[in-house]
């Protein structure tokens, strides 16, 4: 596995198979926490942190415990428990060691348990047909997490401007935000031929 391949996987996770705009995962925080760019960055950083940690742990559990014992059907239950445990642990750890970061991310961490991007990615990377090893898994996860943060930040800056735009009354708020996301998604289709 060469470095170039890993970089390709990062770009693939970030732009080509963007977790929000192409795979439709993590729409709830995408719509809910994107009204201000400050909170979008907070959510993005929290997702990077938790996603990389929980994907690594779930991948290892699947590789070392579930697969050798043919317990693949337990993936959903095991992964969701691991993710909620990791989120709880990260919250306590950050609160104790880095109060400054906790202040910034604190309110977003509990929301991440029900962020389907985290569980979705954990389930995608263990798919047998992908044949990911640990390095590829990590590269793809980092790419996906960066892609989430990038898109939610761009979207939040657009939404800040949309506040003042002259939108028909019925389309104010969620409808126009969804249409904006659709246009962003069209742009991301353009990345398809990148690799």
């Amino acid at each position: 596995m060469s470095i170039a391949n890993l970089i390709v996987l990062v770009i693939q996770g970030m732009l080509i198979q963007n977790v929000i705009l192409t795979l439709f995962l993590g729409i709830c925080p995408f719509m809910g926490v994107s009204k201000k760019s400050q909170s979008a960055i907070g959510m993005g950083l929290a997702v990077i942190f938790v996603m990389v940690l929980s994907s690594t742990i779930t991948f290892a559990i699947n590789d070392l415990i579930l697969e050798p014992r043919e317990l693949g059907y337990l993936q959903t239950i095991v992964f969701i428990l691991v993710i909620s445990g990791v989120v709880q642990f990260v919250e306590m750890f950050v609160k104790k060691t880095a109060p400054y970061i906790y202040k910034m991310l604190g309110i977003y961490l509990p929301l991440i348990t029900t962020n389907c991007a985290i569980l979705g990615l954990a389930l995608i990377i263990v798919k047998p047909e992908l044949e990911y090893g640990y390095a590829e898994m990590l590269a793809y996860t980092i790419g996906t997490a960066l892609g989430f943060t990038l898109v939610i930040y761009i979207f939040s800056t657009i939404r800040e401007r949309l506040e003042n735009a002259n939108v028909p009354k019925a389309f104010k708020g969620a409808p126009i935000a969804l249409i904006t996301a659709g246009i962003m998604s069209i742009i991301f289709i353009g990345f398809a031929g990148l690799v």
């Binding site: 705009l21 439709f24 709830c28 909620s84 029900t114 389930l123 969804l178 249409i179 069209i186």
Partner: protein
């Protein structure tokens, strides 16, 4: 609240998709065909129904501090059951829904109903609540899928199982209708849902205006 209102609130006033805007990932992800949307609706409703029944039955046994993790374990177990049943008996649907079946676990609506309704009400009311919410959810995603598939590929797929393939092709042979392919692709999901929400808002506002003018006319 009587039983009829309890059922209807899931479809109209508290529709999980159009009003509460919850659990949008599968709403966008599986609605490129009507078949996927109906299948998702049935899977979602069965998980919600069973989880509401089980949680309203065991609500007094669960200590308050660990109720959320307990609910998640109950829901994850039910989702795994639905997933295995679907994989065994409806493989075509299973392939089409893909990752969105296990992701029912983190669907905010199911955990939300467990926390907000089933943990406070008896079994019968929780059952009716689940049926209403499930119906509201299914109607919403079927509506979205109807527009996306009809305009995006000119067909309506109702059911696929083995050799049985109920699919209506609505473009007559030789007609020069070019379907709007973008609607079945990823961007179309966002745009169609945005337009639908806008239309629903417009209808709601018109109705409110009518009620207001009626009220002023009466006074």
């Amino acid at each position: 609240m009587n039983k009829k209102q309890n059922f209807l609130k899931g479809i109209f006033t508290e529709n999980p998709v159009f009003i509460l805007l919850l659990g949008l990932c599968p709403v966008l992800g599986v609605t490129s065909t009507l078949f996927g949307a109906l299948g998702m609706g049935v899977a979602f409703t069965s998980v919600l129904l069973l989880s509401n029944i089980i949680i309203s039955l065991i609500k007094n046994l669960i200590p308050n501090e660990i109720r959320i993790p307990s609910y998640i374990v109950v829901i994850a177990t039910l989702v795994t059951i639905v997933q295995l049943v679907m994989q065994g008996y409806l493989p075509e649907l299973y392939d089409q829904l893909g990752i969105f079946i296990p992701l029912i676990v983190v669907n905010c609506i199911i955990l939300g109903r467990a926390e907000a309704f089933a943990s406070k009400n008896n079994v019968i009311d929780s059952t009716i609540d689940a049926l209403g919410m499930g119906a509201g959810y299914t109607i919403a995603i079927a509506l979205l899928a109807f527009f996306r598939e009809l305009l995006g590929s000119g067909t309506l797929t109702i059911f696929i199982y083995g050799d049985i393939n109920i699919k209506f092709n609505l473009i007559p042979d030789g007609a020069s209708f070019e379907p709007i392919t973008i609607l079945v692709a990823a961007p179309g999901a966002f745009i169609t849902l945005g337009l639908l929400l806008g239309v629903i808002n417009a209808i709601k506002m018109k109705r409110e205006e009518k009620n207001k003018s009626k009220a002023t006319a009466n006074s």
